[in-house]
Amino acid sequence: MDMQYKEGINGEVGIRSAGKGKVKRSDLFVRFLALVLTLAAAVVLGANNQSTTVSVKIVPSLPPVNLPVTAKWLYMSAFVYLVIANAIACFYATMSLVVTLAARGGKKNVTLIVTILDIVMVALLFSAMGAAGAVGLIGLKGNSHLQWGKVCNVFDKFCHQTAAAMILSFNGSICYLLLVVLATINVYKKF
């Protein structure tokens, strides 16, 4: 009678129902997807540099001079923050995947700690996304009030690659949000 009614106290000892296994498998799948997406975002932005030449007319009578200019992700602190945040999220996804697989059917405290850290990762990734998005928007459109000119007309490949990295990072952060929702649904089913 205890094993039928008091599921929560005995944990997963007696009961490995199909419903519970399904939630756990989707949790692992979403965690692996978050790992892949944040790794891809960090790599795409980390390998982002572009060298091009800008023709500048110094004196009107002489022909324009070609100046070489480079754009690297290191030059902008918001992009550095995005790469670091995605690297941290990728490392955490690896650790939590290992821990979740190792502690399957075991203690309850492991899932609690993993959920708590998932929420921290959501906040970190969203804030990095906001910073890179704001700075990228200035680079794309410029800001006439603050006298900041646009950059993306010169460095178009750099801007496209940064946009791709931001989309990947955004999908990674949505995966982490999904993990929090899945953990909540998992607890709700046990009530």
Partner: protein, 202 residues
């Protein structure tokens, strides 16, 4: 009639009167509900002060081009989309904290375990709002950092040496929005902890 329940008395099959006398005692000693309402009020306070400080950050300076001719230069929050988004997100957080605070208080007063059921929805909604407010903090912080230090590689000049009061208003607002996002994080942690304790108790 009560063949499967040997432990509970027969008149307890009508559950409502027994539950309503149990639940206020269930919440009386615990600090969870009080902390939840207190954190939501704190979130309201920090969000609304951040909005007010950023909205009141306008600064006008007279730049003299040559003697006898001066043009006024203005710095206000509407000049950057990141700051507009930050004010919008913090206003949403402010409104959200009022609504959920009122809901939480009403659920506490009603007997029947509805406060714990409400925590399920609060986890998801709080996590979503945490994402939004964190993005606002990050965006405003990133743009303000460029305004403070400038960026030599892209020829973006620093703004804070000319408009000091504007920058200090922005700094205060960004710090407060960081405090708001930490408050939201604590709210999600509290809800997760309350739910896991309820699960462990059975």
């Amino acid at each position: 009639m009560a063949s499967h329940d040997t432990t509970t008395p027969p008149h307890a099959t009508i559950e409502k009167p027994l539950k309503s006398s149990q639940l206020p005692q269930q919440y009386k000693g615990s600090w969870g509900p009080a902390l939840d309402v207190a954190l939501r009020m704190f979130l309201f306070a920090t969000a609304i002060v951040a909005v007010i400080i950023m909205a009141a950050s306008k600064q006008t300076k007279l730049i003299s081009l040559f003697p006898g001719f001066a043009i006024p230069l203005e710095a206000k929050f509407t000049q950057s989309p990141a700051f507009i988004y930050a004010i919008a997100a913090l206003s949403v957080a402010c409104l959200y904290s009022i609504i959920t605070g009122v809901l939480s208080v009403f659920a506490l007063m009603k007997p029947g375990g509805s406060w714990t059921k409400l925590q399920f929805h609060f986890v998801i909604l709080d996590a979503l709002l945490l994402g939004i407010v964190a993005a606002a903090t990050g965006g405003a912080g990133g743009v303000a950092y460029i305004g403070l230090k400038g960026n030599s590689h892209t020829n973006w000049n620093k703004v804070c040496d000319k408009f000091g009061s504007f920058c200090s208003h922005l700094a205060g607002s960004i710090v407060l929005s960081l405090v708001s996002s930490i408050t939201l994080l604590l709210l999600v942690w509290l809800s997760v902890y309350v739910l896991s304790k309820k699960l462990a108790r059975g």
